[in-house]
């Protein structure tokens, strides 16, 4: 899932400074899963913002709505009847949802309430950890299903770096397993440790987030 977390309330209050009627929109998919922008968070942030504004001597009228997904046009249409009542939208979706709402309703200001951080998994209740950086040239086949781009502090394709701690943690963060230690363990468990002796070549980074907007085209799916 995509993960994110609330921006500091002060930053949100400053963004909404000039607005009296605001629509706070949640997303019931990724942002609900990471407890940043589902219905619960929308219904927490709305009264919190009302109070934060009041403390500053202002009042604000906040409408709330949580869409199934903010990154699909069909779901975004549900906002159509509310948009004429507001001057601004505060979205608790990832950056994709925020941009989709801004594109669909150019007549209102659209603000992000969340800092989108990464593609992650929920490791334990209340703990999410990144698993993928969407590099566009997946090498998980060579690394036994563990991603060194997302999980090695140095992004090493041929690790480990030599700094791995004795307890198997990364030298950069004692709370994080050295992913190359995990890769070695998993290769051993498969009886294929010798595969790691192959040198992995430099990646094709042009498929990643560098060099302009990426697009994916499937003619067979187009009208």
């Amino acid at each position: 899932m995509i993960i994110g977390e609330w921006k500091p309330i002060e930053e949100i209050v400053t963004m909404l400074d000039k607005h009296k009627n605001v629509l706070l929109v949640g997303c019931a998919t990724c942002m609900a899963e990471c407890s940043a922008g589902g219905e619960k968070e929308v219904e927490t942030l709305a009264p919190l913002l009302r109070m934060a504004m009041k403390v500053k001597g202002r009042t604000i009228n906040i409408y709330t709505k949580t869409l199934e997904r903010q990154c699909e046009w069909e779901f975004i249409e549900e906002l159509t009847p509310i948009i004429p009542k507001v001057e601004a939208v505060l979205s608790l979706a990832c950056g994709i949802g925020v941009q989709a709402i801004a594109e669909r309703f150019p007549e209102v200001r659209v603000y992000p309430g969340v800092n989108t951080t990464s593609l992650a998994i929920r490791e334990e209740p209340g703990l999410w950890a990144v698993r993928c950086e969407a590099c566009g040239d997946c090498m998980l086949a060579e690394t036994f299903g563990l991603c060194p781009i997302a999980r090695c502090a140095k992004g090493l394709l041929n690790g480990p770096c030599g700094g791995t701690r004795n307890d198997g943690k990364c030298e950069v963060d004692e709370n994080v397993d050295c992913v190359w230690k995990l890769i070695v363990e998993r290769a051993s468990a498969c009886g294929r440790i010798e595969d790691l002796m192959n040198i992995r070549k430099a990646k094709q980074w042009s498929h990643s987030s560098h060099g302009g907007q990426k697009r994916m085209l499937r003619e067979d799916l187009r009208p």
Binding site: P8, E10, K40, E41, E43, T44, P47, L48, M51, V55
Partner: protein, 146 residues
């Protein structure tokens, strides 16, 4: 029960969310409240203190309550084992949010109790009402007809 409240002062409107198991059998805080002059509190019973969500706490304060008290069972007496621990974590999180917006963390508090009598419950409410009194009325007062 005697009240020590000085009626000349601002008297906070309190909301109390309490676990059904933290009070003694046959204790009825709503009935006991009528015997204390001055103390204004609304008591809401819960099946377990862990049923309280952050959104509930924030909303109760945004609707104008001056203070909110969550009362759960002692850690080792929770029927859901970790229920009151989870409630306490949520209360701490919500207090952090109140701090962030400078509403005053002491508007919200959690207490624990076992076989509480009405008198003991009222003492907990009084104690938090004293802390809330120092903060003054909730600026949201009147936001919603309570």
């Amino acid at each position: 029960m005697d009240s020590k409240i000085d009626k000349g002062k601002f008297e906070p409107e309190m909301v109390v969310l309490f676990c059904q198991h933290c009070m003694g059998k046959d204790e009825d805080p709503k009935a006991a409240l009528n015997k204390i002059s001055g103390l204004k509190a609304e008591f809401l019973i819960m099946p377990c203190s862990s049923k309280v969500e952050t959104s509930h706490m924030v909303k109760i304060l945004a609707d104008g309550a001056d203070g909110l008290l969550v009362v759960g069972c002692k850690t080792d007496r929770c029927r859901f084992l970790t229920g009151s621990t989870m409630a306490e974590k949520r209360v701490d999180y919500a207090r952090g949010l109140l701090d962030e917006i400078r509403m005053g963390v002491d508007r919200l508090r959690m207490e624990r109790g076992e076989e509480l009598s009405c008198l003991q419950m009222m003492a907990l409410v009084q104690s938090q009402a004293d802390a809330v009194r120092a903060l003054g009325p909730n600026p949201m007062k009147g936001a919603k007809k309570r």
